[in-house]
Amino acid sequence: MSALRTRPSWLVRGSVALYRALLLLYPARFRGVYGAQMAQVFRASCGRASREGGPLALVRLWLRTLGDLLLTALAERMEWTMTHAPSALYRATGLVSLVGIVVWIVGPLLIGLGLTLSGSAGSAPPLSVMMLLPVGWLFFVIGFIGLYSWLARRCGALVWIPGAVAIVTLLALIVATMFWSYNSQVGVTYAGNTTVVNLGQASAVNQLWDSYAYEVSYLAYPVLGLTLIATGLLALRVPALRAVARTLLVMGAITALYYFFTDMGAPRLLRNTGTPGEIGMAAGALVFAAVWLIGWLRLGRWLWRAGALPLPAAPLTVAPSLD
């Protein structure tokens, strides 16, 4: 008889100990305030289930409690992430976007410069340079998520509309760039010898997909530019965000007009004039790259500083200054 009494007691003690351990799934702040009470309630429920229904009732209680615990812990974690964690996340995204600058712009420039100086520059860029472009865009996607998360806290959720379009556009650009890169000629260096390889012929990529990718990349720049302009206009309404808004507007304008700088605009008039045309297109691309470089340096630094600030209880009160 005493064995019958001690067995549920051991089960109850074990259950409560396990439940206490599982409480670690909740954010520390929630656990600190309610953890002891939750364990107390669970202990009382266990005692009752064990008394009235024995081990089977305890199993039923566990099944019900586990579902409850997992769902509410997930909900609390998500809520906590939305309200507290961004401080650290913003810092991380700011840093990632700065790395994106290096990967996307500075990296290819440095490699190209190195190849030119060493006299080993071939007729096609090395594979590493081609792959730096989509990787750089991927870093920008992460940066954009951080940027729009922070802006949403200051400008309202409306900013997520251009934010979502921008992020989808960037992802499309990554895929398009990869297809495009895949169908490009690259220089593959092996054992000191550089061979030009046409990746499109080497792979089974369909020419149709290649043309789609090309069109996507043509569409992506104006769309991305317009989303940045829309974001800038939304941010402009908040006095503390004017510096950020100006940066976004300039980046948006240059991105929307990307092809006028490189392919279709004034440089096009010079395109068929040999060297001057090449210089014009290169100058356009450099202007574009410089604006993005400076813009992302400012935004990345802003995100990095934003992460160091305590999150205000109410929106539109604190924002890091760029000046």
């Binding site: 305030v33 939750m38 009382a44 579902g67 409850d68 769902l71 909900a75």
Partner: protein, 131 residues
């Protein structure tokens, strides 16, 4: 927020409403709330500790309930237990929600969906318990 019971009532979850009902007539601690909800719903609504305290957290933030310092009988009670009581805003929000549900019931009655129901809990006559 608590000054606008209509708005608060709109954000009430079923668990919150059940907790407000449990606290409508007396102050209770967590386990007591859980038991009262189970008793009042005849076992149809079972609150887990996670849902209970997540709801309590949200209701404290909304000003629908507050923590009580008083204990029914300090000698008989575990001092670590925390008691909660309904606030004026909580009572108004619960009333609004009850009114909303009453209107729905009224509409259901008008559409002859409650024929044969005598007001007692349990399945409708003719529908059985397998619904």
């Amino acid at each position: 927020m608590g000054d606008q019971p209509g708005d608060t009532a709109a954000s009430l979850t079923p668990a919150m409403f059940q907790i407000l009902l449990a606290l409508a007539d007396s102050e209770r601690h967590g386990y007591s709330i859980m038991r009262e909800v189970e008793r009042a719903s005849e076992g149809a609504f079972l609150l887990g500790p996670g849902t209970l305290y997540r709801s309590i957290k949200q209701m404290l933030a909304l000003g629908l309930i507050e923590e009580s310092d008083e204990r029914p009988d300090p000698d008989m009670d575990d001092e670590r237990r925390r008691y909660y009581r309904i606030t004026g805003a909580g009572r108004r929000a619960a009333s609004q929600e009850a009114l909303r549900l009453a209107r729905l019931v009224s509409q259901a009655r008008d559409r002859r969906l409650l024929e044969g129901w005598n007001g007692e809990p349990g399945p409708l006559p003719g529908l059985g318990g397998a619904q």
